[in-house]
């Protein structure tokens, strides 16, 4: 008895099978995360926070490089990767920290592009930007005769008591300098950042859903998953038509 002829394998069926297998996991994730996002508010995803180090790193919430800082009395001012911290709390001023000084009851923190005036509790009283500062970038900060001095472009500027105006002046004292942080301070700062800069879970799921969380490779993978749905649909229809005929 002769063997039955080998069954002919259709390329469309093979593609359908293997493409479906390859796309199954991304599609499962897209479907699941899509459902979660549609109900984010009712299931409390907006209120939950994610503080995993690798997630925070993706959002640039964990600074890199070597932090530097200085002590003003019992307060610690530090700069890490363009972020400025006062006693481990983020101070919302952009730019690289150049220094800080105590003046009357206030603390003045300067970056190369902003100056923040904070009261004794650490609350920001005034935030000065390019509109109220000498030509940027700022280079140094200091105090002389109870007045704030900023250096920029090789000149020194003396500020009024309310910090809203300034004039060129002579600054004879040395400006404050930043130092590398001690190991204890560094660890405390790292822990504080990781705890306080947590991201909302809904935001993380949304960015993982769109692929953005993983950068452009994530976008590409999401696009490939979407394209595979289109191809699978077309292949499926083709196979269905053949079977019907």
């Amino acid at each position: 008895m002769s063997e039955p002829p080998p069954r002919r394998r259709r390329p469309a069926r093979l593609w359908h099978r293997w493409l479906g297998l390859a796309a199954a996991l991304p599609l499962l994730w897209l479907s699941l995360s899509g459902i979660l996002l549609n109900h984010a508010e009712s299931i409390g995803l907006n209120d939950r926070q994610v503080s995993a180090a690798w997630i925070l790193k993706r959002y640039h919430q964990l600074p890199g490089g070597d932090p530097r800082g200085l002590r003003i009395g019992d307060r610690k001012v530090a700069s890490w990767d363009g972020l400025t911290f006062l006693d481990h709390e983020l101070v919302e001023i952009p730019g690289e920290l150049i220094g800080a000084v105590a003046l009357r009851d206030e603390l003045v923190i300067a970056t190369d592009e902003r100056v923040a005036i904070l009261d004794g509790s650490g609350a920001m009283v005034l935030d000065l930007d390019e509109l109220s500062l000498p030509p940027l970038p700022l280079e140094a900060i200091g105090v002389e005769s109870g007045r704030l001095f900023l250096s920029a472009g090789g000149s020194h500027y003396r500020f009024s008591d309310d910090f809203l105006s300034f004039e060129k002046g002579t600054f004879s004292r040395s400006s404050v300098a930043l130092q590398p942080l001690a190991a204890d301070d560094l660890q405390e700062l790292r822990t504080a950042i990781q705890t306080r800069r947590a991201m909302p879970l809904s935001r993380v799921i949304l960015d993982a859903h769109s692929g953005k969380l993983f950068g452009w490779p994530g976008w590409l993978l999401t696009d490939l998953a979407a394209l595979s749905v289109i191809v699978l649909t077309l292949l499926g229809l083709r196979l269905l038509k053949r079977r019907a005929s």
Binding site: R9, L14, W18, A22, R58, Y59, H60, E92, D119, A123, M124, V125, L126, D127, L128, D129, E130, L131, S132, D162, L164, S165, M199, P200, R203, D207, K212, L213, F214, G215, W216, P217, G218, L220, L221, L224
Partner: protein, 185 residues
């Protein structure tokens, strides 16, 4: 029997061989890439002030007392970033550069107020990854002519943008704040 075992293996091997370049490409792509870089600078604050007022006048500031900070908290739902807020004034026109968090980042916005009405609104720096559409003039022009009505609300509605709800809310709150601050000058 041998055929039954070997055939699927051959099939897997052949398919894997065909898809291998694709796997390599995906693996290579997954090995790198950065996540977010969102800051959009539309206009420098000094350019906004110059454009709005024709010059850059001396900086002034409103130091908010406890009662005024209470009103600000009612408008924003929280304390404003600073307890003193700068403004620039020429004639009846007053410009404010205000900042408020959309979802997680500050949005820097310029407001020009005149005679209790908003003359113009411009998003100057947008740092969120989503919702940048609030920076479009087609959106910000909705604020023109808005006044403070009862309950410190705007007297006209501002249409929401899907996917940018929090940014829209932030800009609307700041518009109310700018109008309130003008009454304190």
């Amino acid at each position: 029997m041998a055929n039954l075992i070997i055939k699927p293996l051959t099939l897997v091997s052949a398919t894997a061989s065909r898809l291998r370049p694709l796997f390599f490409v995906i693996a290579l792509l997954l090995s790198g890439g950065s996540a977010f870089s969102a800051e959009r600078i539309y206009q420098k604050p000094s350019d906004f002030i110059r454009e709005s007022l024709g010059t850059i006048p001396a900086t002034r500031a409103l130091s908010l007392n406890a009662g005024q900070q209470k009103v600000v908290r009612a408008i924003l739902g929280k304390r404003y970033k600073t307890s003193s807020i700068r403004y620039w004034s020429v004639g009846k026109k007053t410009a404010f550069i205000l900042e408020e968090i959309g979802k997680t980042e500050y949005i820097t916005t310029g407001y020009l107020v005149s005679g209790g009405k908003i003359s113009s609104v411009k998003v100057l720096v947008y740092r969120e990854t989503h919702g940048w559409e609030v920076g479009r003039p087609s959106f910000t022009k909705q604020f023109r002519g808005a006044r403070l009505a009862q309950g410190m609300q705007l007297n006209k509605g501002v249409k929401n943008i899907a996917g940018a709800t929090l940014s829209v809310r932030a800009l609307t709150k700041l518009a109310r704040l700018a109008l309130y601050l003008e009454t304190l000058k």
